[in-house]
């Protein structure tokens, strides 16, 4: 099955690692994978987006507009910024953390969080909003937000890859001293994703 994933956030939030982990997990499950990153100047606190595509035939790594199956927003505003790439049936996972751009702190621009949340809620039927920052802190480091969000995606069944593949990918890619932290972060997200989908199913019934 073709799966196109977008990871949108602010430079420094660990998007590149997240896309590597999805790629490695997908390869473990026998898929061929393409990823594309924003690297360079934007990494210094700018808007960044990673593209991960597996199970399809595309030669280009960039997910076209309206074709992403899953958008993982590491930050509220950046999720909205990339919404045009999400397909009509696409799913959303959004870290509700707000990171003010300096342009907003200086009063040059507005950050309308309410309007952003509204837009996101309208855009996808399957959407999970979570405070990934707090979950990552509970797991041991706020830097692990990226892995929390991956856990949510897998726990909710929004990514057709298994928890075991991700744990193996973490083992393969990260240094050993970071394994336990990231296992914990992944499972925090995984449980939340699982619960969110169960609750929703219960509601429908």
């Amino acid at each position: 099955m073709k799966t196109d994933v977008l990871i949108a956030g602010v430079g420094g939030q660990g998007q590149v690692l997240a896309s590597r982990l999805i790629g490695a997990a997908a390869i473990l499950e026998g898929y061929t994978v393409r990823t594309g990153e924003t690297i360079g100047m934007s990494q210094r606190g700018g808007s960044v987006v990673s593209h991960v595509r597996f199970g399809g035939e595309s030669l280009a790594a960039t997910v076209p507009f309206g074709q992403a199956d899953l958008l993982i927003g590491f930050e509220l505003c950046e999720a909205v910024r990339n919404l045009r790439r999400l397909s009509k049936k696409g799913r959303l996972i959004v870290n509700t953390q707000r990171i003010n751009p300096v342009t907003v702190s200086l009063g040059m621009e507005q950050y309308d969080a309410g309007a952003m949340e509204e837009t996101l809620k309208r855009a996808a039927q399957d959407a999970i909003f979570l405070d990934g920052y707090s979950l990552a802190r509970e797991a041991g480091s706020v830097k692990a937000v990226n892995v929390v969000l991956l856990g949510t995606a897998v726990g909710a069944g929004y990514l057709p890859l298994s928890r075991e593949s991700f744990l193996q990918a973490i083992r393969d890619i990260l240094p050993q001293k970071l394994h336990d932290l990231n296992f914990a972060a992944f499972d925090k997200g995984y449980e939340l994703g699982n619960r969110a989908v169960e609750d929703k199913t219960a509601q429908i019934k």
């Binding site: 430079g11 606190g45 505003c77 300096v102 855009a123």
Partner: protein, 577 residues
């Protein structure tokens, strides 16, 4: 041997070799691209396989050895990996390295995907050894900053260099150049014929409409042709120069119209126009020259789909409309805790109310141009801060000139400019922003760090000692976070006759362990907002009450904000108690 100078999007090529080096490859970050190419030339003269990596503007710096090396040739295989940056995403220009290939008469391979780049690099070495010339591999950003599933060939052939043999062929003289020029022009025709047989150039499909392309634009075109289920004749060009003329003739045969899809300059388009003209073919060739596709900026799937849909008379499938509220821009900024912010701020404070111009250079510190610092008045190319300042000073003798340059850029091409100022007695203040690394490209070592890519430690090159030895009499090393000392040193430096130099020394935050964050005592904060307005630190934000808060996960406790706060509201650990 692999050498190069870091530059987005080429940096990871050399780093990947270094990471996977079993010790049989000599890897170095050279001081600049010209040096890298010359070091590699010496090794290639001695029969070693060599690779030189750089970004497109790096090739400008290395163009002197490049042009001559095309005449002299190599004995060991030599591949130049030159990454182009359509967009541009992280560069000064959108120049097209395929022109450099044509200009220097060197073959160039242009991959569309990471897996093709992998196949091409091996072919490039073989070709270089066969024809005795350097070969250029020219990936672009979307190919460089992408990953793909690749089957790696673990078989490594061992290449034992034969050593340097003394021969007049290594000495470029006008007589030799004339002889070599005739040879290299003849070789172009041979290469073009070889390339018509190359697996990197392919003609497929049938019909009266043809689509030709290269690089990432070709990848988008393939995806569009599949998605729109089109039946067209296609020409994938993997070797834009020398152009595979024979294959191009077979592509053009029977076609009524051709659409060319390539980023940056119309290299393939011009080649096809030339071939059509030579053969008297009645075929319309569309691309940049007739305004169908743009010259500037990077291409996208959507841009290519629109062009192909129009060309084939299909309707362009609509992208579902999503209404999005106005979003704040999020440009890149200097990191929280970045020492450059403190350096810029000290100079800004010291020069308040005085006529001063601040010339900038290439690196993270180019971001000092943004509000509220506004401390970069010019930026041209690597090393130019030092020399541009001298030109402005000659026209505006009453203006104080500050040239800001990072440590790695100083070593790259900054030094000749300083010698020029000393020699010509031009009054400038040189400000070296020494953060002990090449930060923007991902923290590569350089001569001032003493670490090499082979893991050895060499003696650190002392910037202050170097400046003194070339005649800069007034040199101070200062920690920019000591704002009082920094401001007074800047004032003093600005009064010096001739060249004065301040070296702001403080490591990039990526090199230090993150300390406990600073915090704001909300009882003392008067919501004046001065701290944010003055330095624009990304860790600081206003709460609804107008008071300031600091995000603890990104604050590096540099203390610059606390030195600005008039109410002593910002401080280190347990400050609120």
């Amino acid at each position: 041997m692999v050498c190069g100078y870091p530059g987005t999007p080429s940096t990871e090529v050399l780093e990947t070799v270094a990471k996977n080096n079993d010790g049989s490859i000599y890897v170095e970050w050279s001081v600049n691209e010209k040096t890298a190419m010359e070091v590699a030339a010496g090794a290639a003269y001695s029969g070693a396989r060599t690779m030189v990596t750089m970004k497109q503007v790096g090739l400008n710096v290395a163009s002197d050895p490049l042009m001559s090396l095309a005449y002299i040739g190599v004995k060991g295989g030599m591949v130049l990996v030159v990454a182009d940056d359509p967009g541009p995403l992280s560069s000064q220009t959108e120049q097209d390295t395929r022109h450099f290939a044509k200009f220097s008469n060197l073959p160039v391979l242009d991959p569309s995907t990471p897996e093709e780049a992998y196949a091409m690099i091996q072919a490039a070495f073989a070709l270089s050894e066969k024809v005795g010339l350097p070969v250029i591999l020219r990936p672009t950003t979307r190919v460089c900053h992408a990953c793909a599933s690749i089957d790696v060939d673990d078989n490594r052939e061992e290449h034992i260099p034969s050593g340097f043999e003394k021969d007049s062929r290594w000495v470029i003289f006008p007589r030799l150049s004339y002889k070599k020029h005739i040879e290299i022009e003849k070789l172009q025709t041979v290469l073009a014929e070889t390339f018509s047989e190359s697996p990197f150039n392919r003609v497929s499909g049938k019909g009266s409409l043809g689509i030709a392309g290269s690089g990432i634009a070709w990848a988008y075109a393939q995806d569009v042709i599949r998605d729109l289920d089109l039946d067209v004749k296609t020409f994938k060009v993997g070797t834009p120069y020398p152009f595979p003329e024979k294959l191009a003739e077979s592509f053009l045969e029977g076609l009524e119209a051709v659409l060319v899809l390539e980023e940056l300059d119309p290299v393939i388009e011009e080649a096809l126009l030339e071939i059509a003209g030579k053969n008297g073919l009645k075929v319309t060739i569309s691309g940049k020259k007739d305004g169908t596709t743009p010259y500037a900026g990077e291409y996208s799937y959507e841009l290519v789909r629109k062009a192909i849909a129009e060309f084939t008379g299909r309707s362009d499938p609509e992208v579902p409309e999503t209404t999005i509220p106005p979003l704040p821009a999020r440009p890149p900024v200097l990191c929280a805790g970045c020492p450059h912010r403190a350096s810029f701020y000290a100079v800004k404070k010291a020069m308040k109310g005085r006529k001063a111009v601040f010339t900038g250079d290439i690196g993270c510190y180019t971001l000092g141009n943004a509000k509220p610092l506004n401390m970069v008045d010019t930026c041209l190319c690597m090393g130019a801060s030092v020399s541009v300042a001298q030109g402005i000073k000659r026209v505006e003798p009453d203006t104080r000139l500050f040239a800001f340059i990072g440590d790695s850029t100083f070593f790259h091409t900054g030094i000749p400019g300083v010698i020029n100022a000393v020699y010509n007695q031009t009054d400038i203040v040189l400000v070296v922003l020494d953060n002990s690394t090449t930060a923007m490209t991902g923290h590569q070592p350089h001569p001032g760090t003493g670490r090499t890519m082979m893991g050895s430690i060499s003696e650190k090159i002392d910037i202050a000692g170097l400046l003194k030895s070339i005649g800069v009499k007034w040199v101070r090393k200062i920690n920019p976070f000591d704002q009082k000392a920094a401001i007074s040193a800047v004032k003093e430096a600005s009064e010096v006759k001739g060249v004065s130099a301040i070296i702001f020394e403080a490591p990039c935050i990526a090199l230090i362990k993150k300390p406990e964050a600073f915090s704001v005592d909300s009882g003392k904060c008067r919501a004046c907002g001065l701290c944010i307005r003055e330095i624009g630190c990304p860790s600081m934000y206003l709460t609804e009450s107008g008071k300031v808060q600091i995000e603890p996960s990104t604050c590096y406790a540099c203390g610059l904000c606390s030195s600005i706060c008039p109410f002593g509201a910002i401080g280190g650990m347990n400050h609120e108690d």
